[in-house]
């Protein structure tokens, strides 16, 4: 293209200066292009490109929805199960009853347990959990949201009092903040500041 530029710059100066509506100062002479004898539609690349793009995005969407229905291959991975356990330890007492020995039998459960008790205190007082800041590095804006399961269970009241907001993807029908869900709103909001910024959101 640079070679063409050298050849064409001289010849194009006169013709380009006549143009009134273009903004360019270098004119790349491409040479005569013939549109005769095209086998396919002349917009075939355009159509092919956009169709390919749409197919890719739709395929991605279907893969994601399929993943929601079936299991993931790495589900039994120890690392992911530990993360799941960490999250479970927060909601265990307010969700389905989890086996208590499982709750405390893993390594690293000390920290989970302290965070867990922070949330219990939060529920009890329904005010800013000051005690939690000293015990944990994780700010109290990490909260998990969970659907109240069925009415008439004793945990139901507790879960109503204490709304957990799961980091990104999980949302429930009783979501207190409307349509922000999933990746849209923040992942567990981990703030640097010790001040509890938005209590009203969690505790309703």
């Amino acid at each position: 293209m640079s070679v063409q530029k050298l050849i064409s710059n001289r010849t194009s100066q006169q013709s380009a200066s006549n143009s009134d509506y273009t903004w360019e100062y270098e004119y790349y002479e491409i040479g005569p292009v013939s549109f005769e004898g095209l086998k396919a539609n002349k917009y075939s690349i355009v159509i092919g490109f956009w169709v390919g793009l749409a197919v890719f995005v739709i395929f991605m969407f279907f893969v994601l929805t399929l993943l929601t229905k079936t299991g993931a291959p790495h589900q039994d991975n120890a690392e992911s199960s530990e993360k799941r356990f960490r999250m479970n330890s927060f909601v265990s007492d307010f969700g389905r009853p989890l086996e208590p020995d499982k709750l405390f039998s893993r390594q690293g459960n000390e920290e989970s347990r302290s965070l867990f008790h922070c949330y219990i205190n939060e529920v009890d007082h329904l005010d800013r959990p000051k005690s939690c800041h000293q015990t944990t590095a994780l700010d109290n804006d990490v909260h998990f949201q969970e659907a109240p399961r069925s009415s008439g269970r004793p945990e139901e009241e507790l879960s109503r009092l204490m709304k957990f907001e799961l980091p990104n993807f999980i949302n429930t029908d009783q979501n207190s903040f409307g349509d922000d869900d999933l990746l849209i709103s923040d992942p567990p909001i981990l703030e640097n500041k010790p001040v509890f910024q938005t209590p009203h959101k969690d505790l309703d």
Binding site: T22, E24, M87, L183
Partner: protein, 300 residues
């Protein structure tokens, strides 16, 4: 960037048979409107974060970086339109020194905003990933100082690349580097979000959340990635075609849609605040507070 990317605007040459695929010309008013919307929205996001101390955390700094790059892209378009109008009214020479320099500066700004956008999106995805998978060490991993270092590195790299690419714009390695950045970043972002999605899905199963929540997660993820792909891919493909098959009639027909592809990038600058910044309830609250505080001040 027009002089580099769209050599077909000047079709007065009778030796070429381009009339079969004339360039699609969009009225300048559309570009103006979209760009002004883009600038205003991203400015609002920036102001909301600057004015609120509780929003000054790494996550919002990355969203601000995205807002700045989108704003720069829209500003570029506005400046280009103004220069075109001046040129059409006869105030500017087509090949004067000022015009050449201005054109180069604007091209650098455009590439800077492109690269800044891509890198900001990647960094936002990485930040969310760390938040989920290293939740307890997040504070020590992502300190304010590290955030500043990351952002400074990104923007220095983008500025350097922008200037380099404009200087060496008609060499093939430059084009290849530029166009390969897009799929690489896309794969990176896709990988991060899919992994996050898998974790959230497995957690959802453990606490028996309705499957509707997972469907919403899939929709959100598709929107995030789909907007990125739909807005950027056409332009990147254009750059590829322009480098490798400028004489092919099929390629010419694709390249005649250059202005539509440019408009998609402007649309991306307008849509990004809605899918990143305004989804956060804190930023929405800060924004409302800003509006109502201003209104109260005006009432007095």
């Amino acid at each position: 960037m027009k002089h580099i990317i769209n050599p077909y605007e000047n079709i007065n040459d009778s030796g070429r048979n381009i009339s079969d695929c004339p360039p699609v010309v969009l009225p300048e008013e559309i570009f103006f409107t979209i760009s002004i919307f883009g600038v205003l929205e991203n400015l609002i996001v920036l102001l909301a974060v600057i004015k609120n101390k509780n929003l000054q955390i790494p996550m919002y700094f990355f969203i601000c970086s995205l807002a700045i790059s989108d704003m720069m892209g829209s500003l570029y378009k506005i400046l280009e339109n103004i220069l075109i109008m001046l040129r059409n009214m006869g105030y500017l020479k087509p090949r004067g020194n000022f015009e050449t320099t201005a054109d180069d500066i604007m091209d650098s700004m455009f590439i800077l905003s492109l690269l800044g956008s891509i890198f900001s999106l990647s960094v936002i995805a990485a930040d969310r990933y760390i938040t989920i998978f290293h939740a307890l060490q997040y504070h020590s991993i992502m300190t304010i100082r590290r955030t500043a270092v990351i952002l400074a590195t990104i923007w220095t790299f983008c500025t350097g690349s922008g200037v380099t690419m404009v200087v060496f714009s008609h060499h093939i390695p430059t084009v290849l580097t530029f166009t390969s950045l897009f799929p690489l970043m896309l794969l990176f972002i896709l990988g991060l979000y899919v992994h996050m999605f898998l974790l959230a899905r497995s957690h959802a199963r453990n606490i028996s959340i309705l499957p509707r929540a997972n469907m919403k997660g899939a929709i959100t993820l598709t929107i995030l990635l789909g907007v990125f792909i739909f807005c950027w891919a056409p332009f990147v493909f254009h750059v590829l075609l322009m480098t490798f098959c400028p004489n092919n009639p099929y390629c010419i027909c694709y390249m005649s849609l250059f202005q539509v592809n440019g408009m998609l990038i402007m649309c991306n600058a307008v849509i990004d605040p809605f899918i990143y910044a305004f989804r956060s309830p804190e930023l929405r609250d800060a924004f409302k507070k800003m509006i109502f505080c201003n209104r109260n001040q005006w009432n007095y």
